[in-house]
Symmetry: C2
Subunit: 228 residues, 2 copies
C-alpha cells in the first residue's frame, strides 16, 4: 500500500517548489478577496510547534500605512548599506544600493506577518528552542508563497525594517513581533533565477556543500562568506 501521489501531482509539487521566486516587481492588478483568502488558508495549514499557531496576518489596506511602511524600509535599507560598506567595501555598498529590495508601493496586496503575543505560554517543543515560533510562522509563509506561485501571483518577503518601529506603527502588544512584510501581486514575469543571482549580487551554492554525515565536516565550502 502506498500513500504516494500520482506522477502528475508530484510533478506539479516539485515544479512549484523550483519556480517560486522572491519577487520585487509587480503589476497594479488587484488580487480578488477570495484568492487572498485561499492563499491565507494555505498558510494556515502550516505545522506549528505544539499546535501553537503563532502566525498573525495584518492586511494593510490603508495607503497611508503603506507609505509609512515604505519609509521604514527605505530607512533600514540605508542603515544596511552602511553596515555592508563597513564590513566589506564601498563597491559592495554601491552594489547593494543598486538592488531593488521591495515592492511595497506597487504590489496588489501588502501583509504584515507577526509572531503572536503570549507565546511564553507555549512550552511544548520550545523550552530549549524558543525560536520554534518563528520557525512555524516561516512554514506558514512558505505555504503561502508556493500557493501564490501556483496561482500566478508573485510574493516578496521583506525583512528590512526596524521591528520596534513597525510594531509601534501597527500598535502591536509588547510581546508580539513583526517578522515579515509580504508584498503580493501579479507580475510581468517570474524571475528565471533568484534575482540576487541574476544581478550578480551572490551566487547560490550547490546542495552538496550543505550535506554531511554523522557529524559536522568542516570544509572550505561550509565556510560561507557574504561575497561569492
Amino acid at each position: 500500500m502506498t500513500h504516494a501521489y500520482t506522477d502528475a501531482e508530484r510533478a506539479a509539487i516539485y515544479k512549484v517548489i523550483a519556480e517560486r521566486r522572491d519577487m520585487r516587481h509587480f503589476l497594479p492588478t488587484p488580487i480578488a478577496p477570495d484568492m487572498l483568502q485561499r492563499l491565507l488558508t494555505a498558510a494556515h495549514h502550516a505545522p506549528s510547534v505544539g499546535l501553537m499557531q503563532p502566525w498573525r496576518f495584518i492586511r494593510i489596506s490603508d495607503p497611508n500605512l503603506r507609505q509609512r511602511m515604505h519609509a521604514l524600509v527605505s530607512a533600514e535599507r540605508l542603515e544596511t548599506a552602511e553596515a555592508i560598506g563597513k564590513q566589506e567595501d564601498s563597491a559592495r555598498k554601491q552594489a547593494f544600493l543598486a538592488l531593488k529590495v521591495e515592492g511595497i508601493l506597487a504590489c496588489g496586496e501588502c501583509l504584515v506577518v507577526t509572531l503572536s503575543d503570549n507565546r511564553e505560554a507555549h512550552i511544548f517543543g520550545r523550552r530549549t528552542l524558543p525560536e520554534m515560533d518563528i520557525a512555524s510562522v516561516s512554514c506558514a509563509i512558505q505555504n503561502l508563497w508556493l500557493a501564490a506561485r501556483a496561482e500566478g501571483i508573485g510574493m516578496g518577503w521583506v525583512s528590512m525594517f526596524d521591528p520596534a518601529a513597525l510594531s509601534a506603527l501597527l500598535g502591536l502588544p509588547p510581546d508580539a513581533k513583526p517578522v515579515a512584510i509580504l508584498c503580493l501581486g501579479y507580475v510581468p514575469a517570474f524571475y528565471e533565477a533568484p534575482m540576487l543571482e541574476q544581478t550578480g549580487w551572490r551566487q547560490a551554492r550547490p546542495l552538496a556543500d550543505m550535506l554531511m554525515e554523522n557529524g559536522w565536516q568542516p570544509s572550505p565550502a561550509h565556510d560561507a562568506k557574504e561575497s561569492p
Copy 2:
C-alpha cells in the same frame, strides 16, 4: 497573460499543503538514496535571506548516534513535562507524557538540520532581524515536508532537545546551531488531522482568529492559551 498553473496542478499543490502531517509513527522500510536526494533538493530550492542558504543537513546513518540522540530527546521530554506541570497542573503533565513526541529509532532516515556557521557575515535582510536565518531554514524544511508527503513519506520535526548537547554530540562549531531532528519514513497511515488534535491535547483555531486589518486588533481569540 497569466502565469497561473493548470487547475490540476493547483489542486495537487493545495492537496499536499492540506495533507502534510507531523508524523511520529513509522514503518521500518528504508528510503532509497535517490528519493532522499530528491527531497533534499526540494529543501535546497528554498528562499533564503540575501541568498545566504543557511541550511546544513547532517544525515545520521550511525545507529549508535541515533540511540544517543534518542536519549537526548527523552531527557528533554521529562524536563518539558516538569515545566508544563509547574505552569499548568499535574493532569496536563500526565497528558503530555502520554503523547508520542518522536520516532527517532523507528524512522527510515534521520537528519539533523543546523543553522550554518559564520552567519554574522550576512547582514542583508537580517541586520535588525537576525532570526531570518532560522526563517530561511524553516522554509527549506517545509519544502522537504511537502515533497515527502507527495512521495508518500512521513516526516516529523523534533525540537525537543538541548541544542548544546546535540551540538557537542555532532561536533558542531560554536557558531552553528541544530534546530531540527527530522524523522523521515514510510508510514502505516497519515494522520487524518494533526496528532495533537486527535489526542485531544489542543484544538486548532480557525484562520479568522489570525486576521487583522491595518493594525493589531486585540480580541479574546488572539489571546492564546496553552490549553484550548
